[in-house]
Amino acid sequence: MDTSNLDIAYLALSAILFGLGGFGLLVRRNPLVMIMCVELMLNAVNLTFVTFGRMLDDISGQVIVFFVLVVAAAEVVVGLGLVVAMARRRPGATADDLRLLRG
């Protein structure tokens, strides 16, 4: 694999973004912010795919990004719908308030 410093920098950036997203998902308690963190993780994945596609000189890295983008958009629509449905019944609820079901 032909690697340049710029490619390595992009890979490091995407790893950091992915880590930030994962960390945010675990520590933040607002469901909307949690969805944004997941989006950050998915975009980090996109950046990785594009960088690897460039390093390998292979078009499929960019093709995958289209799939991930479309699926991520569909996922966010569903997620926001679920959060809105929940917020209507419990205004201002955080993830910690979701404890009707436990044991």
Partner: protein
Amino acid sequence: MLAHLASFAWDAPSVDLHALAPEIVVAATLVVVLVIDAFTGEEQRWAASSVAGIGLLVALVPVATLAYDGATRVMFGGGYVVDDYALVLKALFLLSGYVVVLLSTNYIAEGDYWEGEYYQLLLASVLGMMVMASARDLISIFVALELLSIPAYMLAAWRKRDLKSDEAGVKYYLMGVFASAVMLYGMSVIYGYTGSTLLAEIAPRIGELVTSEPIITLGIVFVLIGFGFKVSAVPFHTWAPDTYEGAPTPVTAFLAVASKAAGFVALLNLIYVGFWGRHDVYEPLMWVLAALTMTIGNLIALRQTNVVRMLAYSGIAQAGYILAPLAIAGSSPEAADQALHSIVVYLLIYAAMNLGAFAVVMAVARKTRSAEIDTFGGLFSYAPGLTVAMSLFLFSLAGVPPAAGWFAKIGIFQALASAGDTSGYVLAVVVAVNSVIAFAYYGRLMRVMWMDDVPDGDTTPIRVPTSITAALVITAAVTLVIGVVPGVLTHFTDPINLLALGR
């Protein structure tokens, strides 16, 4: 110039319509259900469930003709394969989808929620599972996973004005998308270091990278963990009991059986076709996951007071048994063969017995409006048929002959022993100990049903709707017939072979 252009001529990939026929039938049914919902009034809404059920059964016809034909059909450069393995699992997904439709019919019609959309989402999820059975490419595995998961998030939150259902949906969604993101990151690493998304092309390259690129290990672990969430392996199981309890019961049955089976199918595809050479990574990972999953699942199941939650933890424990053969799959081709067969057999039997158990819970809950274990007290005195059926399913889950579960469990033991090394034997002992623990809570529910008094003295018989009766007859018949004559099942599973494709 012209010659240069000609070299760019695009030739369409050859599409084998016969091989895709089952998926096409399900997709067409999905459209029909949508149209029915849009153009009929309230009084014809029942048609949606009938059409969905018939569509799922019709899709079995091309599955049968493809199986009769017997040829392995490979499409899109090896990214989509229709072979005996894929066909057996497609039949499993279609049949369990049909049983879930039977279970849903009355439940959904009697609630004040939408019917057409429910069946449309259910069909979309089944379609995703069918694609998963054939997917041999990282992208198609990802798309299949999302096609089966996204409708499932909505189904879990179906009773949207109910706080518990909302909570079930949100928890399932957040854990699910987190798992997909982790899995995708793993896929991106694997793509970057092997230069391909085709599992068959990844397999030879991944073996060469063992020492030169340690980061590939991270990619494999991330991908496998992503599916660990899907099959609710401990420590990634936290969503499962909450979602199972809060979601509508037919959806719980669907998640516990079909969705979990789809996760295992993806794990099998990935490990057998793609990561085969890296058994130094997946064997220890699967060993730990399997041992943790069955032990913790069983121990928590012991102290549950709600039957649905107990079945959820029992399902987690069962997932541990199904993971166990993967811990020895890489030791030799013979062990791999045994492990593959034992897992597929277990998935098929697990679907029948678990759907049956949920069908009984639903039938009883129609009268008692509760799924607490106490409300099952004295069930035998007023619903002997349901009690016998439930006992059959519980015996099967515990692995007592003549119910089918014993055959599934023997297969797991045989696979673990076939490796002939210490790790296999130790894991077999763990499975055996866990089977004994599991008998405690299955036995407790049986004691309550047969021995205890009726809690409120209300012994009016339960009126079981026709559709639930049909689901019970199907699942009980499958459980009994396979338990008595396992050859009926092994006739279909024996020709299965996944390794041939990877090498």
